[in-house]
Subunit: 347 residues, 4 copies
Amino acid sequence: MERIKTAIVGASGYTGQELLRLLLRHPEVELVAATSRQEAGRRIAEVFPRLEGLPGAGLKFIAPDAAEIAATGASAAFLALPHGVAAEMATALLDRHLKVIDLSADFRLRDPAVYREFYGQPHPAPALLEEAVYGLPEVRPEEIARAALVASPGCYPTSIILPLLPLLRDRLVDPATIVANSMSGVSGAGRKGDIALLFCECNESLRAYGVPKHRHLSEIEQELALAAGEAVAITFVPHLVPVQSGIITTTTATLAEGVGGDEIRASLEAAYGEAPFVRLRGEGACPDSKHVTRTNFIDIGWALDPRTGRLILMSAEDNLGKGAGSQAIQSFNLIFGLAPTAGLHFA
Amino acid sequence: MERIKTAIVGASGYTGQELLRLLLRHPEVELVAATSRQEAGRRIAEVFPRLEGLPGAGLKFIAPDAAEIAATGASAAFLALPHGVAAEMATALLDRHLKVIDLSADFRLRDPAVYREFYGQPHPAPALLEEAVYGLPEVRPEEIARAALVASPGCYPTSIILPLLPLLRDRLVDPATIVANSMSGVSGAGRKGDIALLFCECNESLRAYGVPKHRHLSEIEQELALAAGEAVAITFVPHLVPVQSGIITTTTATLAEGVGGDEIRASLEAAYGEAPFVRLRGEGACPDSKHVTRTNFIDIGWALDPRTGRLILMSAEDNLGKGAGSQAIQSFNLIFGLAPTAGLHFA
Amino acid sequence: MERIKTAIVGASGYTGQELLRLLLRHPEVELVAATSRQEAGRRIAEVFPRLEGLPGAGLKFIAPDAAEIAATGASAAFLALPHGVAAEMATALLDRHLKVIDLSADFRLRDPAVYREFYGQPHPAPALLEEAVYGLPEVRPEEIARAALVASPGCYPTSIILPLLPLLRDRLVDPATIVANSMSGVSGAGRKGDIALLFCECNESLRAYGVPKHRHLSEIEQELALAAGEAVAITFVPHLVPVQSGIITTTTATLAEGVGGDEIRASLEAAYGEAPFVRLRGEGACPDSKHVTRTNFIDIGWALDPRTGRLILMSAEDNLGKGAGSQAIQSFNLIFGLAPTAGLHFA
Amino acid sequence: MERIKTAIVGASGYTGQELLRLLLRHPEVELVAATSRQEAGRRIAEVFPRLEGLPGAGLKFIAPDAAEIAATGASAAFLALPHGVAAEMATALLDRHLKVIDLSADFRLRDPAVYREFYGQPHPAPALLEEAVYGLPEVRPEEIARAALVASPGCYPTSIILPLLPLLRDRLVDPATIVANSMSGVSGAGRKGDIALLFCECNESLRAYGVPKHRHLSEIEQELALAAGEAVAITFVPHLVPVQSGIITTTTATLAEGVGGDEIRASLEAAYGEAPFVRLRGEGACPDSKHVTRTNFIDIGWALDPRTGRLILMSAEDNLGKGAGSQAIQSFNLIFGLAPTAGLHFA
């Protein structure tokens, strides 16, 4: 079988690097283009010396240009671009009949007004919002499989939505009581020369940020509301902690009347018992980010707090993996009818 | 003026090391004894080479023995011992008329039944519970000043109680809705040869632990209840993150009807405007642990989340400092009528 | 083709974990036994939760017993055991006709007197020394391919020997002037409950250790002498630095009369131009450990210092990879006639 | 006694921050000016929130201007500026009769030709070179005491020169055989928005850099030559390792004929037995950077390697402390006739 010609647009950031790492080894993929305004003309392995020796790592970065990307014969493109910029590129590539898996926030929201509220600008391509599918492969695999445009979720949303979704759908927790605290590795903040991201600023440092209204809240609440069948507003506090990658999220919510550990377990198992990338660690388990880094896994544990009537939901994922690059590949696999785990082996 | 002869009992752990660091430089203190079963006979500076060159660092560790400690002429003793063991030593030293500042959990709870519930054993010296004062210097300075036995609070409790206390007292938040998420540096887990605390296990690792009923919950809820004037049960989730020391805590609670940013600020300023070790960073500020490590400060910031009606309270302290050693010295200063900041200078 | 039944003896340390990680995914291997005195009876994935989901991770650790290992039908065994213990197990497994790849120091030295000098005890199985092959696959692939017992090199030796070997063989540097400084990640010190290896002792800490006569000197000098055709004594200073894994080594030596950059490059390229796991980064390049972690690569760069007439050789490898586990698998591939890179893909 | 009015020029980098930390607490200093082009108009504690609460931390940064600095009545100025810029400011401040302690490289070299060779530009103020004193307080205290312009040494030079100097002076090692390998924390690279200094680039990374001719070589060799009484050329390899601050240096050199441990110890003790900031840890000791961070100490250990006839010299210091800020204050104390340890207490 011929391999699927694929492009990565915006490949010189940390998410781009993760996509390169995975797609250069994906057995069904032929990487035909990697773009970077900054690195155009340099070999992939020159920019990311770790990748030296991988077949395909000699490919040279090109400047981002839809026509040039299409000219490579690419059937699909991953976009790891800033929001706003992504929409424009997506439009141009869809016009050229590529499947687009967009890792930016541009197509995650169904309502352009919410986009405007959270991103402070009018939506750059509102017509595409209806077409785009929010790309949680565990949640809507069929829609993703049929999509031309997948809006691959953010790292925080994935870590919050996946554990909560079945419980809201099954009405096991009170949606008005949800509080999510996430701790993220520094790679989530991007690869840019910002003083606040220097080693000496992040090392031996712990801090919350982005309160009370982080942009990702918009997509989190949209997806939770769909599951709950009602509007949901949650409190979400992200924290920056000194690890390379990895996110853990601790979410608390009041249990619905009469709900105990059996119902929680049953709901999660019904949702994810067969999901190859969700590891239910069980009641009492506290997932550790070090067990999921560089994988597409999300690990989920939970505890019931009978003293307060609350559920404590804990998840761990790699912000660059299940929270970005590898999850996007999971959608890609669905679109092209590949095995769900193709190119996502780990260890 | 003669300096106060002082002993540290259990001085070879991380809290002991912090007490040594501070007391060897405290202008009103003469360290006359430092005990360690393990290190008895070795010089302080041999065990902690960093301290070499400090006057007094040539003192040799002795085995823990109340009579021998009293024989040094010590007027005061800091206990950095495991719970259970601390009570026994405290009793023996109080009998010998030393002032005791106990950093263990043994005298923090007023009710021996709660001790039994959370620590899994009968209280070893229930008669002393009435006498002991829970040592939050910002909360009950006069009682501490008169106390013979101070139960110096744990690191998590300090970070949770101080920001919440005035707000509960002033009825600005609903006590039934409190959720506290803490992230702690690894030194909080102690200096012991435990695989789980190895560099290679903690580095690049994020995880919750101790859910749903960490032992410190007992003292947290006791103090919050005193402030609220009613029983309080909260959800508390501690997390282990790869920094040396430092704790940040993010606490959420539903605002009482009609309460806004002005009331929150006013309440915190009334409580801590004059407190030398509480830095109110203001609304919108997210305290960073790197600004408080090796100090006795607790930094407090907050944000209001009008979408959910919740308050987000954020604090940062050093788990070995304001969360242990330096806070104990703050109580010591009160007991001996010293300047509040004596020996607690920083930078 | 049937997969090769393979055992790991001593699989619960960091090297064991790396072997598990790689062998569970090796396409030609069926892991039939993993031993650990401590973890016997527990599933691999229970001890190493990261591996959960890998086929074979449900296998249970057994106690180390040669007969029991042989009874699994294993054709080969990797030994990740302390020296002394390894020799005994190797003897028993060789008797049972398994191929043995020993990652301990027991069979690395040709001369039992040197073993005694550096390891402080008589060699436990001197008869096997002649049979054992020092397992640097780039250096003696044919001997390894024919060996029943491979003594897989230590992490420091690999990082020092590989860059130096061709230069000594080609008489480009003066063997009497070699000084090697290595910096190693903490995993090299093993997975044991030792205070000195705690996060809080290693984090924010840099220190030399093991001077002037680290045990690995013995094998380093043995191999260098073989290349130089004369006895070689070098100065070697290892340092412990706070990374998980990875070693960089900077070796200096005086250039032989008239030798310049061209000769150095030619010598290294002749030796390693075709070697799949040696990446010659070139003159002026300073290899970074982050580009080799979790791979079997050794990256090599160099610089000439005309002011002093010295060569500066720099190498980077993963102490658990090319310095231990994956290098052992490289030998295994040779023994069983597999592709050199089988099971050693990376990214 | 009136306190000495003092300015810090270039106070918003990591060295500036360390100077602020120390000078704001120095009992004989009144900080009257802190400059930063970037931060002009902001309070010190706003830029460095850690310092909030220190008397004087409310001072506002001003733009660097010699006239304005002089107008504050300052008697002394510390310059933490890039080379080139520093010379210009030094000239202007000396003209205005301030004592200048320059932490840049501008006045460290006696020979402007060497400056040109290593810094790639003509010396900006060659007339001042004769006047400037290379500020190693342990080496030339009287000259520093009389100086108007002190060229405070770099971090690498301090760590290399101090241990070697007495040995060269006493002819105990062969100057032609010196090889120095240093490992430095990331703060040494400065506080600037450079991708290579991001947390995600430095964390879990080890690498050499600046080979074979780091700029600091020039001052190192100048000072070693003065001690040896002959020209000295050494090999120096700096490495970047993931700690906040701290440098360790391992220097090897061939022992002179007949020299043993006694001579080495005697030489070091004669040189530093009374030096308050040099801690001779003794033969066999491997200094650990974590014991010197945030202090003005340099710790020195050594080992003899009889197999090769080499000495292994090991030192540890804080690159921002003894390697920059606190060492500059040590010179300041000499200039103003203060106690050597004034403002340099530690713990």
